[in-house]
Structure formats: C-alpha cells, structure tokens
Subunit: 407 residues, 2 copies
C-alpha cells in the first residue's frame, strides 16, 4: 500500500462547504491510487468556544476534564468529513484516538504521543476505506482522553505517517507554505520552496505558526517527508527536508516573532550551585515549558545572581504562584514578570558557515534604539527579547538586512 | 456504599448557570452520604445542532458517523459538570461510554445496552469521586461509538442504577413528574404521585415524553426504584413502582397523544400465510420499529387482505423504499402512507378490572364525529389512530370522560 497522510486545519474544515471541498481533494488523491489517511482539526472557532464554556465556570479548569471536552471538536469534524465522502460515493470511516490506537502520556492539555497501534487503521485501509483520524487527541494507559496542545493535529498527522510508513505527509493550511517572515508584518515576505527540518524546528518553536513543533521533531526523527500546502488552491507548497543545497546560499532563511511569551526575572539570587536546577525542575514538574533562559552573574564577588526566563503567557499565573512559593526557599529578593515582550529571531542553516550574523542583528536593533533584554542562540538561530511595541519594526528591518525579499 | 443515580436532561444543563445549579443539587445528596453517579444529556439544542450539520451534507447520513458526532454533546456536558463540581470543592470525574464500560449492540442511532462493566466507576466512587457518566452513548464490541436513540440518557441512568445496585434512580427533567395528560393540551392535567412500571411503559411508548421506554423496561426488569423530578424546584415527583393500591381506584391513569408517527397501508394483499411475517421481518432487518399493527381480512373469499401499521415519521422514507421493493414480490396493489395522523391512547391498570373502557372511548370519539382509522389494545391501554387535527380535542374529551382532573 502506498499510504498518503494528509492533515487539514480548522479553517480548511470551517464550514460544510469547505468540508465538501476537502472531500473532493482527498478523492483526487484516492483516485491516483493512494491509501488515504486523513487527520482533521476541529472546525475553526470550535476549540475556543469549548474552552470558553469551561472558563465561564473557573479560570483554571482541570486538565483531564478540559481534554474530555475540547477533544469533541475533532470528533465532530471527522464524522462530517466521513459523511461528505460517503455522499460522493466513497467508503470512509472516522476514528477517534482510542479507535486509532494513539497512546500518549497523561500530561493533560499537552500530552506527548508514545506509541500508535495501527492495526485497525491498516484493517480499514485494506477494506478500501478512506480513514479519517481525529487530530489533536490521544488516550493514556487508563483510557483517559488527552490532547496534544494547540496545533497538535500536525503532530497526529506526522506520527501517523511515521507509524504507517507513509510515502508523504501533507499539511494543508490556509497559506501557501512557510514564509521568510509573517506576511502580515513584512509585505515582501517570500514563500520558501524548501526548508530543512532543523530550520523548521526553530521556526515552529519561535512562533511561525505554520507547524506544531512536535510534528517537525517527529518528522525529523522518523524521516517523514513533510509538505505544507494551501487547501484553498493548487499552488506548490514548502517541502521540509533533511538537507537543502539551495538554502545554504542564504545566510538566514526566516525571521520570526513570538508575541505569546512572558518574561520572568528572579532578582538577587544567592550565587550557589543547584539554584537553577531547583527552579527549572520545579517548573518542569508542573509541566511548564520554559523557552529562553538567561543567567547573568554580577561577577563582583557579591555572591548575587539574576536569572531570567520566558514561558508562555498562558502559563504565567501558574509560574507566578510557583515562584512565590520558591522565592523564600531560594532567598531571592524579588520576582518580576512582564507580558509586554516579544521574542524576535533570525533562523538559517547558512549561519553555521557565516559568522557575524549576531553582530549584524544587534547593530540593526541598536541603530534603531531597540533595547535587547535577553539573548539566546543556537547553531542556526539567534533570538532576542525586546519590548513588544518594537517587534514588528524589528522583523521588517531584519528581513531587509538579510535580503529575504530576494529569496 | 449507598449509591444514588441521578439523571439530568438537556434543559437542566442548558447553560453554565443551570449546570452550576445541578452541581449544587448533586452536592446536597453527596453530603447526605450517598455515593453519587450522575448521568447528563447534551446541553439543550446541541444534539439538534449536530444532526443539522450532518443533514446539510446528506438527508440520510451514515449511522456510525452520526453516532460518532452526536455523542460529543454529552461528552461536553459531563466535563462541564465535573468542572463545576471541582469549582465547588468536590472531587468529580467524567466518563464517556467506553470509560464507564457501557457496551451495546451495533445498531447505530438506536443501540441497546447489553452489559455494563462497572469496575472503573466503582473504583472512582471508592476514591470519593462524584462520577459523571455521559448519557445516550455506548460502545460496541469493536469500540465503535453507538447511541441509544433520542431520550436514551434515561436508559443509561436506569441501566447504571441496575448494574450498580443503586438505592434509587432519580430522573430530573423540566416538569414536576408524570401527568395524566400533556398539560399543554389539557389544562386540568394532574401530576401523578405514583404510577406502575407497566402503565409508565405504555405511557412512554405512547408519546408521554417524560421517560425513554427502554429505561422503564430496564427499571421493571431489575426492580430499580425510579423517580421523575423537576430540576428547577424541590417539589415531590412521580415514583414509578411495581404495584400501586392508590392507582387502582381509577380506571384510567393517563391519556397520551403521539404525533410523530406515520401510517402505512398495504392495499389488496393476497390473503396467504407468511405474508405478514415477510413484511415485518424485512422492516425488523432494517431496524425499523413498528408501533401499531392492524390487519383486516375482507372475509369475502376474495382472498384479498389489507395490512396497516405505524412507524416513526423519521423512518418513513426508509419504509417507503423497503415497501416499494416488496410490493411486487408480495403482489400488493398499492402502498399508501400518511403523515397526517396521531395516536391517542388511554392507559391504566384499572382497566384490567373495569370492562367497557374501549366502548366509552369509541363513543366519545364517535359523538364528535372523529373517525377511528386503526385500533390496538393491550391489557392496560387502548390506542386509536385518528387524523392529527382532531388529536388535541380527543385528548381533552377523554381526560374529562375518565375524570382525570379528579386524580
């Protein structure tokens, strides 16, 4: 069997008319001889509607119950897509996570897929069914429903492609592919034809919302050929590959901007071994993902230290509570938090062989009097935390500086 | 453990405010020392919204996919109710059908519960959890989601009460209990304090929409003490019991009117053994429930026969298709169907010892020139099919004739 996995996002299945269009596209590929496995998100707006219902009761609803509830959005759209395919004369069957055998850990609202038991999917494909699998959801060892975090349907699709050894995994969305920057911020932003897993990983985790980070990790780990395409036209998309000759011509392949993070500063910590470990284990035990971390020792033998880090704004209330409890134990003077920040990053495998990218980036920002509050680097990206109000300007300047309008 | 099972209908959980009120009521009983198992329906209007989505695609969506979709309504309300209970400081856990171990046959959209594996519910009760179980849904042997038919949450509740050997099963709705007739039709209708399982069974199957028929069958079979109560006040409800001294004083305990049936007449059938069996097996094989059946042989040695029966209006298109295929095989002259009918019934265990009820009923209708198109009787009920336009009038007249305003 030549299995093709496709994933359609919430806007692609946002109305009955759009679901019918998705069904037609699936049938085109089915008629080319592929065994089709399709993952869909909830209809656009549905997940927010459900979360909002729960938040009318309490600002911090229990994760298990929230997952029980929001997972229903996908269960509705898979059934509608199956019904649409039937109405066009094709065999199709929908499956939720426990039917499709998608097992995760028990970290509600951001669970990770552990294994997929593909037995039933294979059986249904052998019966000539188009198999429609609910994205975003999983099931833990005690049959509790879990969800994979916002955007998690991408990960469902890639994990299925890996488990089923699919020839390709196509992620359909409402844009043509991966861009050099957000076209809403940079008018000259260009669609990339190719990008490497590593670059895409950085882009995804840095706020280019095209793909869920975990999905790219999965694709890289299991060598899944991944393509991001537009479900509203037939344009070619962006292929995500292991290595790309083409891209190395350019120093930088994309500029990203993440505006949903918050910064936490822990001021005047005693400069003692194990302090950082204590802080970040505590956050990890509470399932808080930390994005950037910067530590600056004052180096004046004062024995005093500052640590800054960023977390998602959504997690900030939980983090504040955790840090308030830790503050005394750690002997810190104060914990200061700020929502009013953005993380702006330049990403590109070309950086590996082109020194001086950081210097160019910091100069551009400095010339515009944009203050850099934190810096974090990897082999193929440089991220800075700046005030949110300067974020768009910074992205535009950097896009021009690294000639991304000429990609 | 003293287990109490409660069921709350769609209007009782129709908004966040109402869900909070339901949570308060559950807590009252929990504080009295009961181990609480609660079944809820979908929020009012949700099941219709979902069915309507599917019907925008095709008038006859596949049953499996429809059940996959509509079962989500209950999954949302159980999670919201659990979150509401948490917000009031109580431990609660929601369970859908496969978590609660509710197994059914595979007759989608009208499945029947086969067995309940109560292991996990018991475990959660022992952990001091209030257990909230999704009504209306089940799971078949292949883990497909099924639903029990409209009103099926009542059956979920009673089946749970039977399986858990609960002390009582309370069905909360938006009226005070079971009435002698629909108060919207008969102003003088009275609430009954008690009614027998058998009477309730007739009432339920005859269109008194307070309880799902199957739930009463279950209650009777497993001796579940059942009470119908109003979730919007603290009035006493109607208790459904095995035998009732009180009720036998009255000849008739209720008048019902069912307006969602259609009549099918098969005209000029050859009068041959096995013909009726052929018709009704074919309907049964297609999972069509037949309500009333009347056969009239012309008795003139012409060897010709007529058969009439009623089915739910919803099933009529399927029935028409089946009968068109059968017509030729049977050698029938014609099949005539009518939506424009109502079934009016008088019900009461008092009838067993009071002859002449049928005669009184037919006279009343005859005096008003209401034509009777079909008649069907049991030990404790007499039903007639009349034109829908006369239905309310007939109910009012019969309510008065049998002095139900004096109950």
């Amino acid at each position: 069997m030549n299995i093709l996995v496709q994933k359609y996002g919430g806007t692609s299945v946002g109305s009955i008319e759009r679901i019918m269009n998705v069904a037609k596209r699936i049938i085109e590929y089915k008629n080319q001889g592929y065994a089709m496995v399709v993952t869909v998100s909830a209809m656009a707006g549905e997940t927010d509607r459900l979360i909002n219902l729960a938040k009318q009761i309490t600002p911090q609803p229990d994760g298990r119950e929230l997952d029980m509830m929001v997972s229903t959005g996908e269960q509705v759209s898979i059934a509608l897509l199956a019904i649409a395919l039937h109405s066009m004369g094709y065999k199709a069957i929908s499956m939720n996570a426990y039917q499709a055998g998608i097992y995760t850990d028990s970290v509600y609202t951001k669970a990770k897929i552990g294994k997929i038991n593909t037995e039933r999917i294979i059986k249904e494909l052998e019966n000539d069914n188009i198999v429609i699998v609910a994205g975003f959801q999983g099931i833990d060892d005690n049959y509790n429903i879990t969800t994979l975090g916002r955007g998690g349907s991408d990960t469902t699709a890639v994990a299925l492609a890996a488990a089923l050894k699919a020839v390709k995994c196509e992620i359909y969305t409402d844009v043509d592919g991966v861009y050099t920057a957000d076209p809403r911020i940079v008018k000259e932003a260009k669609k990339l034809d190719e990008i490497t897993y590593d670059e895409m990983l950085e882009l995804a985790s840095l706020g280019a919302k095209v793909l869920h980070s975990r999905s790219v990790e999965f694709a890289k780990k299991y060598d899944v050929v991944l393509e991001v395409k537009n479900s509203f036209n037939n344009n070619s998309g962006t292929i995500i590959v292991k290595e790309s000759k083409k891209m190395e011509k350019f120093v930088v392949s994309g500029i990203t901007c993440k505006k949903d993070e918050a910064k936490v500063n822990i001021i005047n910590l005693p400069d003692r071994p194990g302090i950082a470990a204590r802080i970040f284990s505590e956050l990890s035990n509470n399932n808080i993902n930390v994005n950037m971390i910067a530590q600056s020792s004052l180096d004046d033998n004062s024995g005093i230290n500052n640590i800054s880090f960023t977390v998602s704004r959504e997690d900030l209330p939980k983090v504040v509570k955790i840090m308030e409890n830790l503050k005394k134990e750690l002997g810190a003077k104060d914990v200061i938090t700020s929502n009013n920040i953005a993380i702006v990053s330049v990403v590109g495998i070309g950086m590996k062989t082109n020194p001086g990218v950081a210097a160019r980036m910091f100069s551009i920002l400095g010339n515009e009097k944009i203050n850099i509050e934190m810096i974090s680097t990897s082999e193929i990206k440089i991220s800075v935390v700046i005030k949110e109000e300067f974020a768009n300007k910074a992205v535009q300047l950097l896009h021009k500086e690294f000639e991304l309008d000429k990609v």
